[in-house]
Symmetry: C2
Subunit: 342 residues, 2 copies
Amino acid sequence: MEPLTPLHELGEFALIRRLQQHIELRQPSTVLGIGDDAAIIAPAAGQELVMTTDLLVEGVHFDLTFSPLRHLGYKAVAVNVSDVAAMNALPTQLVVALSIPARYSVEAIEELYEGLRLACEAYNVDLVGGDTTASRGGLTIGITVLGQVEAGKAVPRSGGRPTDILCVSGDLGGAFLGLQVLEREKQAFLADPETQPELDAYDYVVGRQLRPEARLDIIHELRELGLTPTSMIDISDGLAAEVLHLCAASGTGARVFSEYLPLAQPTLEAAAEFNLDPLTCALNGGEDYELLFTLPVAEHAKIKNHPDITVIGHLTEQNDAVNLITRAGQAVPLQAQGFKHF
Amino acid sequence: MEPLTPLHELGEFALIRRLQQHIELRQPSTVLGIGDDAAIIAPAAGQELVMTTDLLVEGVHFDLTFSPLRHLGYKAVAVNVSDVAAMNALPTQLVVALSIPARYSVEAIEELYEGLRLACEAYNVDLVGGDTTASRGGLTIGITVLGQVEAGKAVPRSGGRPTDILCVSGDLGGAFLGLQVLEREKQAFLADPETQPELDAYDYVVGRQLRPEARLDIIHELRELGLTPTSMIDISDGLAAEVLHLCAASGTGARVFSEYLPLAQPTLEAAAEFNLDPLTCALNGGEDYELLFTLPVAEHAKIKNHPDITVIGHLTEQNDAVNLITRAGQAVPLQAQGFKHF
């Protein structure tokens, strides 16, 4: 094995030069990328921009004992792109702020950057700037993404109306169960470092946790179907919290039918093994990064057979409140049980 | 004294709601601010955007023993706006990513936010989004600013040409000496906590360190004078490093005359007291956040009597190298001695 290069051997400017080598620019709106005081961007005529920022903090959002740095870089981009998608926009440029502990090797940072680069390629977004500094604590990754959308076509959370159908992409609860698997393997490893992790049976849920994808494909498909959601939000804190956010912003209530919640087979199996209710995982698990959106009920026919979009309920008048309708037909008020960082 | 509110009592969502209360929007291009998955921005026709990000990390960029949180919030915005100014653009929107240790009180974070708010007011920029998370280490503040400039009028580092005059705004070296004063007072306090800090005599240099201003006023004045710099950069790592960056990007050399370097009287006095060479402080001190820019020599008359712009030299052919010309007429190669974080 080649010896690793300590960060201090290289210094900040040389590190930045080295990381920049593999950065490609694809967006026609990027006039000037990395290397100046700021990037220059010329949005196409008739476009509006969306802008969002997300921070991933070691020990809060990720655990390097089981998050490979390449996956972490990819995820840092994906969670931001997911917010852009949730506005009905496509990402165009991003900037990356890294705070790196001195103990890291140059090669480790290159792995992280490779993940960033792969995600930029997958989501067709240009990395146009950044700031790289030391850290006295753990690793912190801050990403800010810019996206574009035809003027007037951005979709906020607030446009939902009573009777609109409530749709989700993909399936829910997997990322949370992936985290349970990883935590269990970590404990087993700490108890006996000779233990080999047994993750094969959990590929799906572990992948949902370590390498989520932003659902830009859904944005493209909705456009192809001629559909513009009336409201949209991405599911980062669990379905329950996001339905409540969307209803609060839209001034509506909602009925969510528990029997319709999309759960993948590996998620059901992992939930059974951990003795967890898969519905609770879907409602409160978090980090699924699927899209939750509403459509006028008249559009139902256009998506009802879509393999990757599920209608889970509909909006109601505000004073009907936000309820989960159980299989037995009971209405139970939805409650956000999102994690508290502090 | 009112008891302070621990962060965990409030939780993330309530904290964000509380911080948002005092946020005002001023920019006509802001369509939607805080509160959705992303902000929506509609730039005026014919404008290009600039985008830049900067991270301030506790223990690396600031020391809370002598940085009041309000000043820190202000500075975090100012250093980013300085990068926007260095592109010849005006800031329009920004997003803030905060990673906050659990030991902080809500009131402390409100102080930080008050500094952000004051800077947004001073620089006429809208705070349109953010992310607030816990930290397992110190406080980290990441800011990304968007600015606008007439299409084609952004000024990169690379446009300088031989014979262009080299200009700086304001004066140099003060921020570095301010840091020396603060470090000395900190040591005195640690040795004897009864010591009262004696900062009055150092108001100017301490102010340069704790509360730098981005030179948007210079951008406005250059426009009023009908001047567009051929190249520009902000002075964050010391004049020497920035002259070298500008020359490398422009493919030129430069002659910088030591006798022309602008030094304020309080900077000279503080340097004498600390037995430091004021020229070295100006060349390698860092954090002055003044602007370094070049103009065609034919424009010299327009700025030669400007009270806040100093001509310090001129660009040359590249093979003449980048030299400091001493009072005695000797040419000494300029060297960047910027700090290394790692």
